[in-house]
């Protein structure tokens, strides 16, 4: 799902950076309040897990790529704000180490995967906490939610940023294409993400390693 550099307008990614930094500061405050020293290694481990998982991607014609993301286990085990902070780190390392996603698009990628994804994963899990498939559904629905967010951000570009001839200046495809393509392609990914979330959360809880 990572959008590469050059496709997002500065009018979109600059305010998004402001939002990402503001949310990160808040998340960092929560991080210091809620976690003890022993929890930091687990947080780092799950961040690394998310990194590896989301490094495996397939390019798509709509301008993005398909892969697992790994934010749902972080969100369920440590809470959405800590998961968001972790994803800020993971996405940054991906952008600079692997070239997955760009620096200009980092803010939008972080909002979609880190914020919308983590918050949705936690929300779904909290709502369905007593249900048998709460963990699976948390991973599944949150993956689709971040794909939807990203498709909306990309899809509004041709309506907002064109030159006098009507030529697109940034991402060229409209909402109808981005929503259809991203949501459809993310259904199998969301299924895998749900299974992985269920496996990781059960494993960590069985070992009593929660933060």
């Amino acid at each position: 799902m990572h959008v590469p550099d050059g496709f997002i307008a500065p009018q979109v990614f600059v305010p998004a950076y402001g939002l990402v930094i503001g949310l990160a500061l808040y998340g960092f405050k929560r991080f210091k309040e809620n976690l003890n020293e022993r929890s930091i290694p687990y947080l780092a481990t799950l961040s690394a897990y998310a990194f590896v998982l989301s490094s495996l991607s397939l390019p798509l014609p709509g301008g993005t790529s398909v892969h697992g993301m790994g934010f749902a286990p972080l969100s369920i085990l440590f809470g959405p704000w800590i998961a968001y902070l972790c994803m800020c780190l993971v996405l940054l390392l991906q952008a600079v180490l692997l070239g997955h996603g760009g620096i200009t698009t980092y803010s939008v990628n972080t909002l979609a995967i880190g914020f919308v994804g983590s918050l949705c994963a936690y929300g779904v899990y909290s709502l369905l906490t007593k249900k048998r498939y709460a963990t699976f559904l948390s991973g599944f629905i949150s993956t689709l939610a971040s794909a939807l967010f990203m498709s909306i951000v990309l899809g509004i570009h041709p309506y907002l940023f064109t030159d006098v001839d009507g030529k697109a200046l940034y991402f060229p495809y409209p909402l109808s294409i981005t929503i259809t393509l991203l949501l459809t392609s993310h259904i199998p990914v969301a299924f895998v993400e749900g299974l992985l979330t269920q496996a990781i959360v059960s494993f960590v809880r069985r070992r009593g390693l929660e933060g």
């Binding site: 481990t45 070239g99 009507g166 060229p172």
Partner: protein
């Protein structure tokens, strides 16, 4: 301090390059960035050239259908040049900046960044080694069932190992003064 200053300059340059829509200026910047990156692209051809080549293919992959569909052929050039410029600039800055110093605003963040990076390296190396060992044990190539069993086993193995290692690294860092601030 130098690293943070470079990072700030880089962010401003990214903003400027993203705002440019003139192909003439984008070509000029592209020539300059190509010259600035020439040494590293030549000396470490395999690794350094991969991101710009990937960026080029991505830009063409997305812009070509649109250009052919609408007849706005210059869009393909505009997008490709912008994507290449941003990628080359990032390569140039990353080569001259220590990311851990530039982003280490607090000790806790530094600790998390170092731990996460070390685990990423661990995960990738272990996975690669186990994959090679599976291949070497299967002369005719592993079956799908073998791959599923292998993935499950290796997943649990390196997750478990990384948990233990991360705690050791955290203790080691703490003993060297990396406390939570």
């Amino acid at each position: 301090m130098k690293d943070r200053f470079l990072l700030l300059l880089y962010m401003l340059a990214l903003l400027l390059l993203s705002s440019l829509s003139s192909i003439k200026y984008l070509l000029l910047v592209f020539s300059l960035l190509l010259l600035a990156n020439a040494v590293s692209l030549r000396s470490s051809l395999g690794r350094a050239i991969r991101p710009p080549v990937f960026a080029l293919f991505t830009a063409l992959f997305i812009s070509t259908p649109y250009a052919l569909w609408t007849g706005h052929y210059s869009y393909a050039l505009l997008l490709t040049l912008r994507v290449l410029n941003l990628t080359l600039l990032t390569l140039l800055v990353l080569r001259n900046t220590n990311l851990y110093l530039a982003l280490g605003f607090s000790k806790t963040l530094s600790q998390l960044l170092v731990l996460t990076s070390s685990h990423i390296l661990l995960y990738r190396r272990v996975f690669s080694e186990f994959k090679d060992s599976l291949r070497s044990r299967s002369p005719e190539g592993p079956q799908r069932r073998d791959m599923i069993n292998f993935s499950g086993g290796i997943g649990l193995y390196f997750f478990d190992r990384a948990l233990r290692d991360s705690e050791e690294v955290a203790k080691a860092m703490k003993s060297r003064g990396f406390d939570i601030d």
